[in-house]
C-alpha cells in the first residue's frame, strides 16, 4: 500500500515568493497515493529535516517526495534523512521547484505555481513506482593522482603523502611550482615564494610514496571512483597509473592582452608578470610607471574579477618604491579590491608612499600614445572628472588569470564541466567545494577560479582531505542506478551490448536460452542500453520506463484535468 | 518430425478461421495463419494467434474426480463413468428421464454434440438437452426460422467485403468477431457505407459512416423507424415484397407510428442520423445486416430479430450475394451445436421433436422409442432445479456458474440438485460444484468438425495428445451412451459419427470427411454432388414466402429507477473469451485485459466523483460486485458496460434472468443498476 509524503519547501522567499506553497500542498494532498502533504520554511535545515523525519514516522510513510531545490546538491541530505527515519533512501524523490521553477519564473507567480504542481505530480507519479535498492560496493585503489605541480598541486600532494597515500604528480613543465615560480614574493605578507615552493617540493622528494612525473601530460583517463586508470604521456613513453582518486590542480596562466593598451606594439607596455621578472633583476631602472588594473577583465567577454591582481599591483608598486624611492607610480583602477586587514594595510602604505590612484571607467578607457623610450598615457580620471596625461617609462597591465590552454583536454579526459570562461566547475560552491559532480575527482586552486597562493594551499589541502576519504575507507558505494536485465524478457538481440559505452554487458546462457547480463561493477548507470532495448528487458534502477512513463502520464493528466 | 504444422479451426468465436498449430516436441507451441484459407486469408486476431497458449496450461484437468464430502478426489475412468451412469439410471428410475438435464457445448465438435444429444434422447430418453446457444442466439434461431425458415446466417463472411452498405447493430464486431469486423473495414475502404447502431461507441463505430447510439432496449423503435422512412421515401423494393413476402400491409401500418421524432424520444437517436441511415441502407444495391447479442439478448429478442428481417425484406436485401440478415455466432461451434440438435425442441438438422413423422424417422434410425415431449431450455432448467423437477445435470463443457444470468440463482439451483457431472478441460466455477468431473480433450487434441457462423463445416485436427488421462468428449459420450443404453454408441471415429448425422440431418446430407479434408462446404448440402450453399433463400425462402412480422416497441423487462438509475449492459472485450476459462489462461491475452472493469461515461463519472481505475461497487436487484472503473467517452451517458469474462466480479451476478417468451433467451443486455465508490 502506497503511503507517500510530499514536503514542499519555501526555501525562505526563494520558492515562496513565486510559488504559492499552500496551493501546491493542497494539490499534492489529492494526488493518488499521497497520505501526507506538508511544507517547510527551509526543508534542508535541521528543523526541516527533523519535521520530515517525524512525519515519516507519524504517518507511516513509505515514499517521500521533497519539492525544493536541485537533487544535484541536496539529494544526499534528504536521502540520509529518509534512511534515518527507516526508509530505504531510494524511496525518496526530489522535485526541483526552485532552480527549475521559482527562480526562472519569478515574475509569473501563477504560472510558476501551476508548473510546480505539474512537477510535483510528476514526482509523485515516479515515487509511487520507486523500489528500494541495495547499493553495491567496489574496492578503492589506495593511490591518488594529482594533475599539476603548482602550489595547489604541491600542497595537495604533500597533504596526501602526509596521510601515507601513494601519490603520482603529473606536471607538464620541467619543474614544480607553476605560476608562482614567476613571482618572487607573495603579498601582502611578503612571503618568499621560492622558499614556499622548495619546502613543499622537499616533502615530495623525501617521500618514497611520491612519484613526480615532469614534462608529462594526461593522455587518457578511464574508470570511476576508486578505480581510475590514468595514462600519462611522458615524452615518448606512456605510463599507466591505477588510482582511487584524482585531484585537478592544473592552475592558471596570465592573460596576454594582445592589442590592448599598446601591448605588443610598444616595448614599454608589459604585463604584471613581466614586471615581476624585471623586479627580480638587480638592474630595474624605470622611474615613471603606471599600472592599469582590470586590463582585459571585467569587460564584455571576460566579465569576472581575477581577484589577485589588485593586491599584486599594490605589492609591486611598493616593491618599485623600495627599489627607487623617487619613482612615480600611478595605479589606474576601477575599484581597488584589497580585502582583509593585511591587504588593506598594503593599500594604506601605498597611498602614504605617494602611489597615485586614478579611477577610470570603461566608457573612457585610458589611451596609449607613442613616445620615445616610453609611452604617454591619456586617462580620464573619474574622480577629478578630467583628462590627465602621464609620461611613462613603463606601463604595466594587470591582466586577469585565465585557464591554461589544455584545460579543455583535461576536462574531456575527466568528463568534468568547465564554466564559460574555461575554469572548472565544482559540484556546488557551498555544499561540495573542491569536489566535482563526478565522484572521486576533485579540484583545487586557480584551476577552478583565480585565487591567491594562500588559498591555493588551503584548497590543495581540502582536496587532499576529500580525496583521502574513499581511499582510507577502502571502498565506495555504487549508486543504485545501474542497469538490470530481466532475462526472461530478454531476446538476446545484443542491442544493449553494442550500445553500452563501457562494454559492461554480455550475452550469457540463461536457463536453456541466451540473455544479456550487466556487469554491475562496470555499469556506470547511463541508461544507453535501456533506450536500445526493444522490449524493456533492461531497466535502469531509479529510472525505469514505468517510472518515467508515469511521469509523462502525470504531466498529461495535470494538463488535461487541470491542477486544481 | 520435430516440428509440424497442423491445419485446424480456431476454438474461439464462430468466424471459423483456419490456422496451423505449430507443434514441437509433442506440444502446441505456436500459431501460424493460413494464407490460402478463404475465411481468414492469412490473418488472425489476437485470440487466434494465442490459441495454443491454454492448451499446455498446468490447470488442465488430467484425471477423473469424484466428490467425497467437500473434496473432489482422483478416480479411475471406470469408477467415474460408472458413477455417472448409475446416478442417471437411479434418478431416471425414481423421477423419470425428464428429471435429467443434459447440457451440450458450443465448444465441442459437431460429432460430439450429435452424440451428446443422442445420449440425452436415445440413452436417457429425454429431450432435455440444450446448450449455450440458448444464451446467445436462441432468438435468432426462433426469429429467423419464423421469418425466413432458416435460423442461420443468410450469407457468408467473404461477402461482407463486397457489400455496398453494411448495417451493424448489437455487434462489437471488431472485438467479438475480429476477422468479420475487418472484412467490414475492407468493404469500407472500397467505398461501402457502414452504419453502426450500438449504445457504445465500438471500435467499428469509430470508423463507420454513421454511428448511432440508441438507448439499450429500444431497438424495435429505430428499426421500425428506418422501415417507416424507407417506405415513405418510396425506397422499398415493391417487386421483391410482392413476389417473395407476405404481411407487408400489417407491417406498414405498424411502422407508420414510428416517426423520426418518436424514435428520437424512444431511442435518443437524432432524427437526421436515422433518416440518413435509412436512405443509405435502402438505396444501396447490396446491403447486409450483421448483428449479435445486442439484438438477441433481450426479453423481446425474437421480435428484434424479426424486425431486422423485416428491414432486409422491405428493401429486397435477401437472397443475393452480399445482402441478407447475418447473425454473428459467437462460439467456434455454436452453429454446429444447433445444427447437431443440441436443442430441446429440435433434432439434428432443425427437425422438430414434436413432429411425429420426424420422430419416427429418428426412432427408426436410433432404434429407440423417443420422447414426444419438447425438452427444457437451459434457462428454465435452473428454475426447475429449484422447484425439484430437475434432479440431475450432465454438463459437457459449459460453465453456467459464470455464463448464466443471475448467478446467485444458478448457485442455489445447483445446490438443490441430487447429482451433477461436469466434463471440462479446466476447473471452472461449475466444475468446483460437481459430483463427478471428467477431464476432456481440447480442440487441439481431437479430430472433428466445427460449423462456422456462415455454415461452413470446417475440420478440427488433432495436433497433440490430451494431457494425462483426458479424453475427447466424443469418446466420453460414447462410453456413457454404451453404459446407459447398450447399443448405438459404437463409433470408432468422429468420421463415423458425422456419417450417421449426415444420414439423419438432410442439411448435412452431402457432407463427409473426404470433402471436408479438401474443401470448404457450407450447409445446406443435401447430397454428395451438391456444392454446398453460400447464399440462402436465393429463389424462394425455405418456408416459401418471407413473413413480415408487425412488431411493436416494448420497454425492457427492467427499467431504471431512483435506486437503480443506470442501465447495465454486458458483452465481450477483444482479448478475453466468454467465461475466461481459456483466455485467462493465455498469458498474453490475460495481460491485455487482466481484470474486471466497468465502462462508465466521462460525464457520469465526473458527477459521481469517480476517476479512472478507481474501485467501484455495482449493485442490481440481484447482487453486487466490486471492480475497477474505466472512464470513457465511448459509452452513452446513463449506461454502463461490464465485460462478462471475470469470475472475481462476474457481471452475471447482476444481470436479469427475464426471458424472451419464444426463445427463452435472457435479457443480458439490459438491467438496472447503481454504481458507487467502493
Amino acid at each position: 500500500m502506497l503511503r507517500i509524503g510530499v514536503f514542499v519547501c519555501h526555501c525562505g522567499h526563494n520558492i515562496a515568493s513565486a510559488v504559492d506553497v499552500d496551493e501546491v500542498v493542497e494539490f499534492a494532498r489529492k494526488l493518488p497515493g499521497v497520505v501526507y502533504a506538508g511544507q517547510n520554511l527551509y526543508s534542508c535545515s535541521q528543523e526541516g529535516l527533523g519535521s520530515i523525519k517525524k512525519s515519516i514516522e507519524d504517518n507511516d510513510l513509505n515514499r517521500v517526495v521533497v519539492a525544493a531545490c536541485t537533487p544535484r546538491t541536496h539529494e544526499p541530505l534528504f536521502r540520509r534523512a529518509c534512511e534515518q527515519a527507516g526508509i530505504n533512501k531510494y524511496l525518496f524523490e526530489f522535485v526541483n521547484i526552485r532552480e527549475h521553477c521559482s527562480w526562472i519564473h519569478a515574475k509569473e507567480p501563477e504560472a510558476a505555481t501551476g508548473k510546480a504542481k505539474k512537477l510535483v505530480a510528476m514526482g509523485v507519479a515516479k515515487a509511487s513506482l520507486l523500489e528500494p535498492q541495495e547499493e553495491g560496493e567496489s574496492a578503492v585503489i589506495p593511490r591518488a593522482v594529482v594533475i599539476g605541480a603548482g602550489i595547489s598541486g604541491l600542497a595537495a600532494a604533500a597533504s596526501l603523502l602526509d596521510q601515507g597515500i601513494e601519490t603520482h604528480i603529473i606536471e607538464s613543465k620541467n619543474c614544480v611550482g607553476g605560476l608562482l615560480r614567476e613571482v618572487a614574493v607573495i603579498g601582502p605578507e611578503d612571503i618568499d615564494s621560492r622558499n614556499l615552493i622548495n619546502s613543499l617540493e622537499k616533502r615530495l622528494t623525501s617521500s618514497p610514496k611520491a612519484h613526480l612525473h615532469l614534462n608529462s601530460r594526461v593522455k587518457e583517463v578511464k574508470g570511476f571512483v576508486g578505480n581510475f586508470e590514468v595514462t600519462i604521456a611522458k615524452g615518448d613513453e606512456d605510463i599507466t597509473v591505477q588510482a582511487g582518486a584524482i585531484i585537478v590542480a592544473t592552475g592558471t596562466r596570465e592573460f596576454q592582452p594582445a592589442g590592448e593598451y599598446g601591448f605588443d606594439e610598444y616595448p614599454a607596455v608589459i604585463t604584471q608578470l613581466e614586471l615581476e621578472r624585471r623586479l627580480a633583476k638587480s638592474d630595474f631602472a624605470a622611474s615613471r610607471m603606471a599600472i592599469i588594473n582590470c586590463a582585459g577583465s571585467r569587460q564584455p567577454g571576460r566579465e569576472y574579477c581575477s581577484r589577485v591582481c589588485c593586491n599584486a599591483s599594490l605589492k609591486n608598486a611598493l616593491r618599485i618604491l623600495d627599489k627607487n624611492p623617487d619613482a612615480q607610480v600611478t595605479i589606474l583602477h576601477r575599484d581597488i579590491m584589497s580585502c582583509g586587514a593585511a591587504a588593506e594595510e598594503l593599500y594604506r602604505r601605498a597611498s602614504e608612499r605617494g602611489v597615485r590612484f586614478v579611477r577610470y571607467g570603461l566608457e573612457k578607457r585610458p589611451q596609449v600614445h607613442a613616445k620615445e623610450n616610453g609611452v604617454v598615457l591619456e586617462a580620464f580620471d573619474e574622480t577629478l572628472d578630467e583628462t590627465i596625461d602621464l609620461d611613462l617609462d613603463l606601463l604595466i597591465l594587470a591582466t586577469p588569470l585565465v585557464p591554461p590552454e589544455d584545460s579543455v583536454e583535461t576536462g574531456k579526459h575527466l568528463k568534468v564541466p568547465r564554466d564559460k570562461y574555461g575554469f572548472f566547475l565544482e559540484a556546488h560552491v557551498k555544499l561540495r567545494p573542491v569536489e566535482f559532480a563526478t565522484d572521486g575527482v576533485f579540484v583545487c586552486g586557480s584551476a577552478r577560479w583565480p585565487v591567491s597562493a594562500r588559498e591555493c594551499i588551503w584548497q590543495g589541502q581540502a582536496a587532499a582531505a576529500k580525496a583521502s576519504i574513499p581511499i582510507s575507507e577502502g571502498k565506495v558505494r555504487i549508486e543504485a542506478i545501474t542497469a538490470e536485465v530481466d532475462p526472461d524478457r530478454c531476446a538476446a538481440c545484443g542491442n544493449c551490448v553494442l550500445a553500452c559505452p563501457y562494454e559492461a554487458i554480455e550475452i550469457v546462457e540463461h536457463l536453456d536460452t541466451m540473455a544479456a547480463k550487466v556487469n554491475e561493477a562496470q555499469c556506470k548507470g547511463c541508461g544507453t542500453c535501456v533506450a536500445a532495448c526493444h522490449n524493456d528487458a533492461i531497466q535502469q534502477k531509479g529510472f525505469s520506463s514505468r517510472q518515467l512513463g508515469a511521469m509523462i502520464d502525470a504531466l498529461i493528466r495535470t494538463a488535461t484535468e487541470g491542477t486544481q | 518430425m520435430p516440428v509440424d504444422y497442423i491445419l485446424t479451426t480456431c476454438p474461439y468465436c464462430g468466424t471459423g478461421c483456419n490456422f496451423f498449430l505449430q507443434v514441437a516436441d509433442g506440444r502446441a507451441v505456436g500459431v501460424v495463419p493460413c494464407k490460402t484459407d478463404e475465411t481468414s486469408a492469412g490473418s488472425l486476431c489476437i485470440k487466434g494467434y494465442n490459441a495454443h497458449a491454454f492448451v499446455n496450461h498446468s490447470d488442465r484437468l488430467t484425471h477423473p474426480m469424484i466428490r467425497e464430502g467437500d473434496q473432489l478426489s482422483k478416480a479411475t475412468w471406470e469408477e467415474a463413468l460408472q458413477r455417472i451412469a448409475s446416478e442417471m439410471k437411479r434418478i431416471s428410475d425414481e423421477h423419470g428421464p425428464d428429471a435429467i438435464m443434459v447440457l451440450a457445448s458450443a465448444k465441442c465438435t459437431n460429432e460430439e454434440n450429435y452424440l451428446i444429444q443422442k445420449v440425452a434422447r436415445a440413452a436417457i430418453g429425454t429431450n432435455n438437452v440444450d446448450h449455450c446457444a440458448r444464451l446467445c442466439h436462441a432468438s435468432t434461431v426462433a426469429g429467423l426460422l419464423q421469418s425466413f425458415g432458416s435460423g442461420a446466417m443468410t450469407n457468408t463472411i467473404p461477402e461482407f467485403e463486397n457489400a455496398d452498405c453494411i448495417l451493424v447493430t448489437g455487434s462489437n464486431t471488431l472485438e467479438a468477431h475480429p476477422l468479420i469486423g475487418t472484412r467490414i473495414l475492407k468493404a469500407r475502404d472500397k467505398g461501402a457505407k457502414v452504419i453502426v447502431v450500438d449504445p457504445r461507441d465500438t471500435p467499428l463505430s469509430r470508423v463507420a459512416t454513421i454511428s448511432m447510439r440508441q438507448e439499450s432496449g429500444s431497438d424495435v423503435a429505430w428499426i421500425n423507424g428506418m422501415i417507416n422512412i424507407i417506405i415513405s421515401e418510396k425506397l422499398h423494393d415493391e417487386e421483391f415484397i410482392a413476389a417473395r413476402t407476405t404481411g407487408f400491409d400489417e407491417l406498414r401500418e405498424i411502422v407508420k407510428n414510428y416517426t423520426p421524432e418518436r424514435v428520437k424520444s424512444l431511442t435518443g437517436i437524432p432524427e437526421d442520423d436515422l433518416v440518413s441511415a435509412a436512405k443509405m441502407y435502402a438505396s444501396a444495391d447490396k446491403a447486409m445486416i450483421a448483428y449479435a447479442m445486442g439484438i438477441t439478448q433481450h426479453s423481446n429478442g425474437t421480435n428484434l430479430v424479426r424486425a431486422l428481417a423485416n428491414l432486409a425484406m422491405v428493401t429486397g436485401n435477401v437472397g443475393r450475394e452480399s445482402t441478407g440478415v447475418n447473425p454473428l455466432r459467437g462460439q467456434c461451434n455454436v452453429q454446429g451445436a444447433c445444427d447437431a440438435g443440441a436443442l430441446p425442441n429440435l433434432y439434428p438438422g432443425y427437425q422438430s421433436v414434436e413432429d411425429a413423422e420426424t420422430r419416427s424417422k429418428f426412432e427408426h434410425a436410433w432404434n429407440r422409442k423417443l420422447s414426444e415431449k419438447k425438452g427444457m431450455a437451459l434457462t428454465n432448467a435452473f428454475d426447475k432445479a429449484l422447484t425439484g423437477e430437475v434432479k440431475a445435470m450432465l454438463i459437457f463443457g459449459e460453465n453456467p456458474m459464470m455464463s448464466d444470468p443471475d448467478i446467485g440463482h444458478v448457485e442455489r439451483a445447483i445446490s438443490k440438485l441430487e447429482f451433477m457431472a461436469v466434463i471440462d478441460i479446466f476447473p471452472t466455477e461449475t466444475v468446483k460444484l460437481a459430483d463427478v468431473v471428467l477431464p476432456a480433450a481440447c480442440y487441439a487434441e481431437k479430430n472433428g468438425t466445427f460449423t462456422a457462423t456462415d455454415r461452413a463445416v470446417r475440420a478440427v485436427r488433432k495436433a497433440v495428445d490430451p494431457p494425462g488421462d483426458a479424453r475427447p468428449d466424443w469418446q466420453i459420450a460414447c462410453d456413457l451412451g454404451r453404459l446407459l443404453a447398450g447399443d448405438g454408441f459404437d463409433f470408432a471415429s468422429p468420421e463415423q459419427v458425422l456419417a450417421e448425422m449426415a444420414a439423419v440431418a438432410p442439411i448435412y446430407g452431402g457432407i463427409d470427411y473426404e470433402r471436408i479434408e479438401e474443401e470448404m462446404v457450407r450447409w445446406p448440402c443435401p447430397s454428395k454432388d451438391h456444392p454446398g450453399t453460400k447464399v440462402l433463400h436465393t429463389e424462394s425462402f425455405k418456408i416459401g414466402k418471407g413473413v413480415f412480422a408487425p412488431i411493436e416497441h416494448t420497454p425492457p423487462a427492467e427499467e431504471t429507477s431512483d435506486e437503480y438509475p443506470l442501465i447495465l449492459t454486458t458483452g465481450r472485450n477483444l482479448f478475453q473469451f466468454h467465461t475466461g476459462t481459456m483466455t485467462r489462461r493465455s498469458a498474453k491475452l490475460q495481460r491485455e485485459a487482466a481484470g474486471p472493469y466497468v465502462e462508465i461515461n466521462t460525464e457520469d463519472a465526473r458527477r459521481l466523483g469517480i476517476i479512472d481505475d478507481a474501485s467501484v461497487r455495482i449493485t442490481s436487484r440481484r447482487g453486487t460486485i466490486t471492480l475497477a472503473a474505466r472512464v470513457t467517452q465511448w459509452i452513452r451517458p446513463g449506461t454502463i458496460f461490464i465485460p462478462f469474462h471475470y469470475a472475481e466480479a462476474a457481471a452475471n451476478r447482476l444481470t436479469n434472468n427475464a426471458l424472451d417468451p419464444t426463445a427463452q433467451i435472457p435479457e443480458y443486455k439490459v438491467c438496472a443498476a447503481r454504481l458507487e465508490k467502493a
Binding site: 542491442n495 | 518430425m1 493460413c34 490460402t36 486476431c45 489476437i46 494467434y49 477483444l574
Partner: protein, 258 residues
C-alpha cells in the same frame, strides 16, 4: 527440390506444400514425401525458420527463401539469433505479381534456384502519395488507418526481424490505451524498432486483417535511415547506426531542426 538434401547437404527442408487444399508450411527430412510444392504463396519463411530453429538444435535446415528472407536472415545472423552455418538457403525469385504487391526494389536472391528474376519495382506509389500530403492531411490519413487496428499483433508475430517473445507493445507503459484500437504510439514504436532492421518483406501489411499500409510506412522510415545514416537493413556487414558512436557512423546533416 531434392537439391537441398543431395547437393547442399541439408538435414531438413523448410518449404510450402499443398495440404488439405491449402498451402501449408512443412518441415521435411530426406526421403519424406513432399507432395506438391507451392512457391506461389508468400509465407514469411524467416519467421517460420526462426521458430523452428528453437526446436532443432542439430542439423542443417534448408529454407526456400526470397531475397527479403536472405536479408532478414542477415539481420538475425548479425545478432546471433540464427546461426548461418546451420542454414542452407535455396533462393526463390519473386514473381512479377509479388514484386508488384511488395513494390519491391530488391527482388532477386543471390542465387535464383527457383524461378527467374523479374525487374524490380521503381517506387512505392503508396508511400510517395502519403509523403506528398501536407502534414495535417497525412496525420488524418494515418489516424483513419490506425483506427482500423485491432491489435492482433500479426505485424509483429509474422515479422521476420521482430524477435522478442514478450513485446513492449503488450505493456501499458507506452501504449496505455485499454482495448482497441491502440493509439498512435503503438505504430510509431514499431516503426522505430524496425528502423534498423526492416527488410521490406511486406508481411506486416499482408497479414494485417485491416489492410493498414504498414509496408509504406516501413519504406518511408527506411528511406530516412538511408538518407540520415546511409544505412540499409539486411546488409550482413553493417551494424545498426543507432547503436554505435558517431565515429562509426557520422551523421549526414540534412538540415533538419535537430
Amino acid at each position: 527440390m531434392r537439391l537441398a538434401f543431395e547437393e547442399r547437404g541439408a538435414d531438413y527442408l523448410l518449404a510450402i506444400k499443398e495440404a488439405h487444399g491449402q498451402a501449408a508450411p512443412v518441415l521435411l527430412r530426406k526421403g519424406d514425401d513432399a507432395g506438391t510444392m507451392r512457391f506461389d504463396v508468400p509465407y514469411q519463411m524467416t519467421m517460420i525458420l526462426t521458430n523452428i530453429s528453437r526446436f532443432i538444435k542439430e542439423g542443417r535446415i534448408a529454407v526456400v527463401a526470397r531475397r527479403c528472407d536472405e536479408r532478414a536472415i542477415a539481420e538475425l545472423v548479425k545478432r546471433d539469433l540464427l546461426n548461418h552455418d546451420n542454414l542452407v538457403v535455396i533462393g526463390l525469385a519473386c514473381s512479377e505479381e509479388q514484386i508488384r504487391e511488395c513494390r519491391c526494389t530488391d527482388p532477386c536472391p543471390s542465387s535464383a534456384d527457383i524461378g527467374h528474376c523479374a525487374a524490380p519495382a521503381k517506387e512505392d506509389q503508396a508511400a510517395s502519395s502519403i509523403q506528398s500530403m501536407p502534414l495535417p492531411d497525412r496525420l488524418d490519413y494515418w489516424i483513419d488507418q490506425f483506427r482500423k487496428c485491432n491489435k492482433c499483433f500479426g505485424c509483429t508475430l509474422n515479422c521476420p526481424v521482430c524477435f522478442c517473445d514478450d513485446c513492449l507493445l503488450e505493456e501499458k507503459t507506452f501504449t496505455p490505451e485499454k482495448g482497441i484500437p491502440p493509439g498512435l504510439a503503438f505504430h510509431l514504436i514499431r516503426a522505430v524498432h524496425l528502423a534498423d532492421k526492416c527488410v521490406e518483406c511486406g508481411e506486416c501489411e499482408r497479414s494485417c486483417p485491416s489492410d493498414i499500409p504498414l509496408l509504406a510506412l516501413r519504406k518511408m522510415v527506411n528511406q530516412d535511415m538511408k538518407r540520415m545514416f546511409n544505412y540499409t537493413s539486411g546488409d550482413p556487414e553493417r551494424r545498426s547506426p543507432l547503436l554505435t558512436t558517431l565515429e562509426g557512423d557520422p551523421m549526414e546533416d540534412d538540415g533538419d531542426a535537430c
